[in-house]
Symmetry: D2
Subunit: 340 residues, 4 copies
Amino acid sequence: MQLGMIGLGRMGANIVRRVVNDGHECVVYDHNPDAVKALAGDARITGVSSLRELRDNLAAPRVVWVMVPAGDITTGVIDELATTLESGDIVIDGGNSYYRDDMRHAKTLSDKGIHLLDCGTSGGVWGRDRGYCLMIGGDQEAFKHAEPIFASVAPGVAAAPRTPGRDGEIAQSEQGYLHCGPCGAGHFVKMVHNGIEYGMMAALAEGLNILRNADIGTRIEKGDAETAPLTNPEYYQYNIDIPEVTELWRRGSVIESWLLDLTAIALHESPTLTEFSGRVSDSGEGRWTAIAAIDEGVPAPVLTSALYSRFASRRLDEFADKALSAMRKQFGGHDEKPGA
Amino acid sequence: MQLGMIGLGRMGANIVRRVVNDGHECVVYDHNPDAVKALAGDARITGVSSLRELRDNLAAPRVVWVMVPAGDITTGVIDELATTLESGDIVIDGGNSYYRDDMRHAKTLSDKGIHLLDCGTSGGVWGRDRGYCLMIGGDQEAFKHAEPIFASVAPGVAAAPRTPGRDGEIAQSEQGYLHCGPCGAGHFVKMVHNGIEYGMMAALAEGLNILRNADIGTRIEKGDAETAPLTNPEYYQYNIDIPEVTELWRRGSVIESWLLDLTAIALHESPTLTEFSGRVSDSGEGRWTAIAAIDEGVPAPVLTSALYSRFASRRLDEFADKALSAMRKQFGGHDEKPGA
Amino acid sequence: MQLGMIGLGRMGANIVRRVVNDGHECVVYDHNPDAVKALAGDARITGVSSLRELRDNLAAPRVVWVMVPAGDITTGVIDELATTLESGDIVIDGGNSYYRDDMRHAKTLSDKGIHLLDCGTSGGVWGRDRGYCLMIGGDQEAFKHAEPIFASVAPGVAAAPRTPGRDGEIAQSEQGYLHCGPCGAGHFVKMVHNGIEYGMMAALAEGLNILRNADIGTRIEKGDAETAPLTNPEYYQYNIDIPEVTELWRRGSVIESWLLDLTAIALHESPTLTEFSGRVSDSGEGRWTAIAAIDEGVPAPVLTSALYSRFASRRLDEFADKALSAMRKQFGGHDEKPGA
Amino acid sequence: MQLGMIGLGRMGANIVRRVVNDGHECVVYDHNPDAVKALAGDARITGVSSLRELRDNLAAPRVVWVMVPAGDITTGVIDELATTLESGDIVIDGGNSYYRDDMRHAKTLSDKGIHLLDCGTSGGVWGRDRGYCLMIGGDQEAFKHAEPIFASVAPGVAAAPRTPGRDGEIAQSEQGYLHCGPCGAGHFVKMVHNGIEYGMMAALAEGLNILRNADIGTRIEKGDAETAPLTNPEYYQYNIDIPEVTELWRRGSVIESWLLDLTAIALHESPTLTEFSGRVSDSGEGRWTAIAAIDEGVPAPVLTSALYSRFASRRLDEFADKALSAMRKQFGGHDEKPGA
């Protein structure tokens, strides 16, 4: 079948490649003509220079995948598609949109009879080879129409051993894509996926930091009245080879995971990670997950702590820390210590 | 070579099987004679009924693996081995000992010229097939002598694809075992491994709970002056099929992990987990990891939150909660709400 | 001057009493006629039975204080006032409204030329005697007009010693009320106040729980392979008299606070707090504060932990805990322990 | 009666002044002769130049207060007193000792028939005027003998209104000192006090930081694919006058507290706290409180978060943050952003 793709960044371009490799045709557009040209030369790919042209090169009912930054840019594309596409067409938002925006976008499109499928897409730069894990929300019929595309983009059942007990027909989920529910359900599940990702990443990172400082008994100086002394320096005399430990854990341990695999790669390349400053960005889903937990009234201390650690890595706690130092100065006459 | 095994519980027995399957001989002991009998019938396994007999069936220098509960029981066995074994022999503590106890045990044994290797062992009930991930501390020479045993117990390099960039000789870590440093280093690394495990588990569990309550907008009643109303019930109308979502994430997502595989198994077997009450035990390493973070002065909010959630699952926060209700009653006249 | 009061619950009625005691007149309304009658007999208080009658008993420009539950009820009253009052009148929302609702309400009213002042009101059941701490947002001129009322409701400068360095004219803030900024600023500051309140309360409650369990070394049984043993029971042999400790801390300690005073009262009345179940409600501000921190990108681990503990006190973490038990069962064959 | 004081730092000297002002005599020693001289000129104070001389100037049974830094220095003084004092004498450790050290010190002293009272002392630089809150552990009879000294050092009942319901004889706790239990109980209670202090301080500091960033909607730039955009900048347009808000909360609010009073002083002196860098020290009790919670198996997320925030303020999370950036680079190709 045919797919229209809007947005040919790393992920958009890789999705196009997976789709055509699986036998489909793509009509592709990007606001940057060079990105369109970069995909030229494949007979199954047609580059276009406007959304109108994209529409005209696709047979109705069209399936158009939008893969542009979430927020205002996605909204802009959706708005334009609402006036360009035709009733019965299907728009897939594959970006990192907030599921609440999907609801708004779906309304914009449905006023014109156009369907929106929201599609959370996980896989990062590795997805071209590994396939992308797809979490989809929206109208069931529209989903069914677009399903062959999702099947091409997803990793397929062979990507992991089947779960014991699952031995009959292969489910959607086992192929790496899932219709999760009505509009927004896909991005909701993707949001929580990323929230979990933040938590798992922080768990690993905190653990490595504890290993890294297992030699603190060899480094720390005596405490004074205002600094906690290390009570038992004899227990912290280890120089742990962290790259080897992460490699070790990849086989047979309980924490085997893709994030661990990636960490082992990173530490093999750069054992002390000196090229990083440690300012960790966050791209929305971690925040939205915490807000969902709060709205639902369920505790999410691990996911939220992971988020807050990222904020702290960017020194956004500065005024709070100054206030603490000011209080200590007031009640105890404690001056800040340069290296404390 | 020969291995003596003390403790034939699930893990001890499975390690024996892996060792003899790889061509070694085992002399095995358990305080429960039935556990010894259960391993009979294999010509490479010799059951014995005392530590003295175990010693007499092994050629010096002996390698004796202790696989019994950590704490007093391990200490008792170590003490007995100190008076039973001979100078030059090697004791492997494969249990979940606190690394600080290793230091004490090593002293007990070294007074008799006996070496202690502390060996953190990960893999659980699946280790017999998957192999165990081994984190080892202690004297380098003793480690070298016992290395063939560790190689048999570990998963081996084929258990995971080699990390990109690692293409020469296969390192210890790639085979699934690692000499991490001097006495205690093995259990220190295992302790942190379990700390990370707690954090990853909690990240998954919290995320699933958020999915589970994604329908709260269909359930929640109006708030009153003392209960937070759900501001936007229209955003929480999803009935997510959680078993299918965990299956989905196993292919192509960033959170691919063995813990996710296991969660998918558990949820496929029991989608609502009704047979569990939600009282979650902890077995020491999570606590010790948090204490290590505190001693080192490094933040571990995710790992510690995961630990505290387990405490809270057992209602150990009860007096604190009552104190909160008492304060609310005092300043606001608020009564507790039965179902709030 | 005159004040109209809508909502004669505990706080509304007490505010009326403070206002008339300070020489003003009140026209009061409640949807429950008994609440109106309860204030009868004071010549300075006029009870009315409708908002229209309330309007007719006040001279323009009117000042009308709304003290009803936040959310739909407040919105309903605001909507009715928009059609009842006249241009130039001033509405004070003294309830626990979300500051974002203030913005909406202000729009509703300003379309009719009516001003909204949002007024966060702290003080609880003690406010009648102590005075209420008032955090006010909205138009500066409207605030100036209503200021005598705020001054009557607030505690006044004598309620606390003047801060060293403040020796000139008495500032608003020193009298216990403050114009914090434009529309919503009052409830924003009140929201953060309550967020801090949650954190302080939890700090106290957690500390008391640690004291309460300082005798755990006398109670705990030996651990087994799946339960963490208490390494050093000799360090936890204390039976602390918690009511006396809270009384003690009221004099000379760093944690002297009104919340501590209240805790000491509660524990003096009921040393073990057995009449409480420990299900702790939350009424919105704690959630909104955490959401504000997330939106702003600043870490608030303490305030958010305090909120999540309240959720956990109501067992809203149940599915997460079950998932943890299920994972432990899968990888380690661990069964849940009834009393673990 | 007579008191010997060892250690004439800020707190030791101020305690001496309170004791003599209440009619007792003091014999004082410090390893720095200038500190001894600084107290000269008061007929009730006798300066000495050795512990032996201190002993000789006190009538048996002696009461000797040790007010030196906790840890090795206190241990050194205790050891020397064990060989200098006589059976029946009483040593008060008024410093910030770990209660576990008290147990060791008590043993050292009791071998010579000398009693140890451990005395947690709160009050900081303000204690001279306010009095010190004293939490005391050890032998009941020794406590009774030294009680007049404690009564002189403590604030006395007038320091706070009596708790409603307490109207008979004035309890110890109401005078600001309390015998909390056997050896170590005093410092245990003080430890938890400081843990609560950390939590309360952090609650305030986090709240102020949220107020500080209430203008973020006026500052933040558009997000991109890797940075979370602020969804609703219109909700974050406030410039809050934080010094005035802290002053405001001192009267009538639920969070009235001494820490708030001090914060108001600090912010009145320096509204933006620019002279602080925000590196916040910790002096042991916060760590020990968290460890006690972990040992007891009770959750203390607020107290521990407060501790970890201090660690993070000193950038001790650096390797963890780098590991996060490294993982993001691996799976998403994300580069760190200089100002993100």
